[in-house]
């Protein structure tokens, strides 16, 4: 009311219309618009990508995403490597949660060579543990990171510190800090070290404490609410139209979770319910992710309680240097921290795959959806919207 009285809500009819769509050309020489580039050399974009913005005042009228700055040609490289050589290559596809790539490529090769039924119980539980730990470390960076886009850097500092602790546990389990190569065809590489569960429990207690603090810092913060509420709304109708998955879909009330829809490993033995919210804005998405943080901590506790103490961790496989997989194709998916993450794998009977194609959630979120959500947004909100869609450029261009 007071905004209207003081004239802070501009009369939209007096301004040139915001009707620009993909493909429309905006006449820059009319001096009504300005073109600015956000990225790649800009701390406000997620990773190494860029967004080309046509702005009118502070309002974006048209946006174009430019990707390819991180293109390494993974799919081509894997085609000329042995199946097992593909592992170290493929896990570098997405740096935010590398374990998901390990699981996908291991399961694809197992399914096509008929070993998927032979994976031992213990290995399945350990795979689940490493996947959930990967999700946890991603969320510890991602949830406060949403506050970080609005300059609430304190939560990021706490979150990244706790993420380091989880990476320490990864180091104990797998020997590596970021790129683990823990899940291999036929099983996993190692058992839990002694005392792992106790140390993990210590860290989880710290994270519990952090979860409560971040709630007070972000979700009870009036300025954060003011920035995030009503921003970049995704409606349930848009979900199928744009192929929206994961927390972005759950933020607007559409329950899409591969762990429930297409259960893999032992997820049907765990007791959990994917959180949802109805608003579909940046605040709702962050809220869903925050609840998922609680849930992931709970899932790790459940997994550690339910998993057997000992057991086979790897089924005997053929010599990997001469391993040939019969002709076939498959698609395997899992729920990563960002949503459905899948891999299409084609073999032709030789010792190298014919085609590997990764389907990352950012592929649709960061290009088709982002370009449409940015129209009408404020320039200052672009970074917040990109992070709220969990944009991860390496999985777009591979």
């Amino acid at each position: 009311m007071i905004n209207k009285f003081l004239g802070f809500e501009p009369d939209k009819e007096k301004l040139p219309s915001l009707t620009a769509k993909i493909g429309d050309d905006i006449d820059l020489s009319s001096h009504k618009y300005q073109k600015i580039w956000l990225g790649p050399n800009h701390p406000g974009v997620t990773g190494n990508m860029s967004v080309e913005l046509w702005v009118q005042g502070n309002t974006v009228v048209k946006a174009k995403t430019h990707v390819g700055y991180l293109h390494r040609g993974f799919e081509k490289l894997i085609e000329r490597r042995l199946f097992v050589q593909g592992f170290p290559t493929s896990i570098r596809m997405c740096v935010a949660e590398p374990d998901t790539n390990e699981y996908l490529i291991a399961t694809c090769t197992e399914q096509l060579s008929g070993y998927d039924k032979a994976v031992p119980e213990m290995a399945k539980w350990l795979r689940m543990l490493s996947l959930e730990m990967a999700r946890l470390q991603g969320l510890l960076r991602g949830v406060p990171g949403q506050g970080g886009t609005f300059a609430l850097g304190l939560g990021v500092q706490w979150g990244v510190y706790l993420r380091d602790l989880i990476l320490d546990r990864f180091e104990e389990l797998t020997g590596a800090r970021v790129y683990h190569m823990y899940i291999i065809p036929g099983g996993v590489r190692g058992l839990l070290p002694d005392g792992f569960k106790e140390r993990m429990e210590d860290n989880l207690r710290d994270i519990d404490d952090f979860i409560i603090r971040i709630r007070r810092l972000m979700f009870h913060n009036s300025v954060f609410k003011k920035r995030a509420k009503g921003l970049a709304i995704v409606t349930p109708e848009m979900v199928d139209k744009y192929g929206i998955v994961g927390t972005t879909a759950r933020g607007c009330g559409v329950k899409r979770d591969v762990r429930k829809d297409d259960p893999y490993l032992h997820y049907e033995q765990l007791d959990f319910d994917p959180p949802t919210d109805t608003d579909g804005d940046v605040y709702a998405r962050t809220w869903v992710r925050w609840q998922e943080l609680i849930q992931t901590v709970d899932l790790i506790r459940q997994i550690m309680a339910k998993m057997p103490d000992k057991g086979d961790i790897k089924t005997p496989m053929p010599n990997v240097l001469h391993w040939k997989i019969p002709k076939g194709e498959t698609y395997v998916r899992l729920e990563s921290g960002r949503g459905e993450y899948g891999m299409y794998y084609v073999t032709d009977g030789s010792d190298k795959p014919r085609r590997v194609n990764l389907r990352g959630p950012s592929y649709t979120h960061a290009i088709a959806l982002l370009e449409d959500l940015l129209v009408g947004a404020d320039v200052a909100d672009v970074h917040g919207i990109m992070v709220s869609l969990q944009t991860c450029p390496p999985e777009i261009e591979r």
Binding site: F8, A151, L154, D378, A380
Partner: protein, 305 residues
């Protein structure tokens, strides 16, 4: 006291203010770091940064106004210092009253905007779209801050019937119950709220937000110019704190008191900045035009009746 002695004391005061500004900046970055659980920068880092900036070899130019930007900003800071009585010693020609005179409150109001306008010229010639956007945001927000601040200043001027900062400080002597904080609470509340915007910390720092638009007006500045600007920023921060100390918190009777009071005043804006994200520009403008503006009107009305 001869004019030369006065000049000497003024320059000495400027030196103290510059170093105190550097130290205060480093201290608050350390406080922020400790809050996050970090060790933080060494306390002498700002001096090293200044030296480093001076030692940069490359100089680029975008035209004459580009040089004038940092100079204007420094002039704004130094001008604010020149006409501000720093320490109250009981005489208008005291050692640390600098060149304050009747009506310096108006000049100080002008000098607050001066640096920003200079930056607008310099950054505009820089030609970078981020600079232009940053400066447009900065000027919009500055106008929004100035309005309640000016109303509060006017209210204080009406209260004591003077535009001299020295006389306002003089009127507040003799115990904290004489501070404007208690004698004119509406004006004081307006100033305390508007101060957040004037200090340029979160949530009112979209002007130089690295996430949203790189670093705003300073995008194109490097080397010595950046060193100039950072020194000017340090001086400005201290002088804003001194201004609010003089106007609301009863001035200072010694350098120690000045340092303690400016530290606490500066801490208020940093404290708010640590736990709040930043506003968008239209949100911050609206914010200043709501409560602070109403309080400012009340302060005027009460003392005009």
């Amino acid at each position: 006291m001869t004019i030369y002695a006065k000049l000497g004391y003024t320059l000495l005061g400027l030196f103290i203010v510059l170093n105190w500004g550097f130290l205060m900046g480093a201290t608050f970055r350390k406080i922020g770091a400790r809050l996050a659980g970090r060790y933080g920068i060494p306390f002498y880092q700002p001096w090293l940064n200044l030296l480093k900036n001076i030692s940069i070899r490359t100089t680029i130019t975008h035209g004459i106004m580009y040089y004038i930007g940092p100079v204007f900003r420094l002039t704004g800071g130094v001008g604010l210092f020149l006409f501000m009585p720093m320490v109250f010693t009981g005489s208008p020609n005291g050692l640390w009253t600098n060149f304050s005179f009747e009506g310096d409150l108006i000049l100080i109001l002008y000098f607050q905007v001066f640096g920003m306008l200079g930056m607008a010229l310099g950054a505009g010639q820089g030609g970078h779209p981020y600079s232009a956007m940053g400066i447009a945001r900065g000027l919009a927000q500055h106008a929004a801050v100035e309005l309640p601040l000016t109303l509060a200043f006017l209210s204080i001027a009406i209260q004591f019937d003077t535009f001299s900062v020295y006389k306002i400080v003089e009127a507040q002597q003799g115990g904290f119950e004489n501070w404007i904080l208690f004698t004119n609470p509406f004006a004081a509340a307006t100033i305390i709220l508007a101060m957040l915007g004037a200090m340029g910390h979160s949530p009112f720092n979209l002007v130089k937000a690295p996430n949203e638009i790189l670093i705003g007006p300073a995008t194109e500045f490097e080397g010595t110019y950046l060193g100039f600007m950072q020194s000017a920023g340090s001086i400005l921060h201290v002088m804003e704190a001194v201004l609010f100390m003089n106007l609301v918190f009863g001035g200072a009777n010694s350098w120690i008191e000045l340092i303690v009071k400016t530290f606490l005043i500066y801490f208020w804006s940093v404290f708010v900045g640590m736990v709040f994200p930043r506003f968008k520009i239209e949100q911050s403008v609206t914010w200043f035009f709501k409560v602070p503006l109403l309080l400012g009107f009340l302060a005027i009305i009460i003392y005009s009746l």
